[in-house]
């Protein structure tokens, strides 16, 4: 048996932390009647203090609980209504946005807007203009007045079409 008696502070700690778990204290209490009696008194007092609360709550009139329940149910109704209001507002906002997008698309497709020339087509045209094979220089506006001479040169080179040669 442990001869050292435990102080109130140590007994208090034993009570709050885990009664029965502190082996040295519990062993001492089992053997020492004095300490065991002090521990019992301490336990009784602390339990008594806690019980005061429980009694106060148990003694509350039924009207207190009825009022509380009513307030809870009212709070739930208010929350539900608020939730419905918020979800309705969201639905209206979503519908308005959808109509705006759809309306915009329809208007965009209906109205005939002159389309700017696509950049790719412009580039292709430029390439064609610079390509000597693809473009006949004699057909240009600058050489239009010399068209007769062009025809004559073709004839003198003997590269005229077979129809002309046959006629000669």
């Amino acid at each position: 048996m442990t001869t050292k008696h435990f102080s109130e502070a140590e007994l208090l700690e034993t009570y709050y932390t885990q009664p029965g778990e502190s082996m040295p204290v519990m062993m001492h209490l089992a053997a020492c009647a004095d300490c065991a009696a002090r521990y019992d008194r301490l336990e009784q007092k602390l339990r008594g203090l806690a019980a005061c609360d429980a009694r106060e709550i148990d003694d509350k009139p039924q009207t207190f609980w009825t009022r509380q329940r009513m307030l809870i149910m009212r709070g739930i109704d208010a929350r539900k209504q608020h939730g419905e209001h918020v979800s309705r507002a969201w639905r209206v906002a979503a519908a308005a946005l959808l109509w705006f997008v759809l309306g915009g698309t329809i208007v965009y497709r209906t109205v005939d807007v002159p389309k700017p020339q696509p950049a790719a087509a412009a580039v292709q045209q430029k390439v064609q203009a610079e390509d000597p094979v693809a473009h006949d220089a004699w057909q240009s506006d600058e050489l239009h007045d010399f068209h007769g001479m062009v025809q004559w040169e073709t004839w003198s080179d003997g590269k005229s079409n077979p129809k002309t040669e046959n006629s000669l």
Binding site: E8, L12, T17, L49
Partner: protein, 210 residues
């Protein structure tokens, strides 16, 4: 048609009431409120030590539980789930109170001094006074604790819940709860020792204050 077990009993099971509530039966939730409101109020009151605040916390707890009822998976008891919500709300309330007191410098010592008033009708008025003073001393000592320590100590002291249960309710390891409780009890011991020195003259025969 299969007969449900609850048809034989007067009180339907929590799960059944939850299912009915989710199905749109508001009265079913009223039954759940009626079943647990006292326990939830008691837990909230144990932590915040203020009746009006505990009332508000109880109401908020049930409203929040209703809002998130679909998320309740039934892994724990409905009561445990409600208690957790109530504890979280109570802890928030304690923190808010502490934050406000930083600016207002508020202290409700005056209110507590009232508790020293003796009640002579009791069979042993002196003991009754000692008990009241002890209560006040504990409440004063509690003021020195952090919000978390307060919650743990109060659940242990007023609700007499075992450490394992407190750990489960707070979502903490049992060792963490034990450490918090140790620190809390040490602070309380210190405060009570001071109180004993101050009030030793009142009752010399009462050795076990405590």
């Amino acid at each position: 048609m299969p007969i449900r077990v609850s048809q034989f009993n007067e009180a339907p099971a929590d799960q059944e009431l939850i299912a009915r509530t989710l199905g749109g039966d508001g009265a079913a939730y009223g039954l759940l409120v009626d079943r647990f409101q006292r326990k939830i109020f008691r837990v909230a009151y144990a932590i915040v030590r203020d009746e009006s605040e505990a009332d508000t916390i109880t109401q908020d707890t049930f409203i929040q539980a209703y809002t998130h009822l679909a998320r309740f998976e039934g892994r724990s008891e409905f009561e445990t789930w409600l208690t957790r919500i109530a504890i979280n709300r109570s802890r928030d309330s304690l923190r808010r109170r502490k934050f406000i007191s930083l600016f207002t410098g508020g202290d409700d010592d005056d209110e507590r001094t009232m508790l020293f008033e003796p009640v002579d009708e009791r069979p042993d008025p002196e003991r009754e006074i000692m008990a009241r003073q002890l209560r006040v001393a504990i409440e004063r000592a509690e003021d020195k604790l952090s919000a978390q320590q307060k919650v743990i100590f109060r659940l242990r002291h007023y609700e007499e819940r075992p450490l394992e249960e407190i750990a489960e309710l707070l979502g903490l390891a049992a060792g963490t709860v034990r450490a918090h409780l140790f620190r809390a009890v040490h602070k309380i011991r210190k405060e009570l020792a001071e109180w004993r020195v101050q009030h030793q003259g009142i009752s010399d025969d009462d050795e076990t204050l405590q």
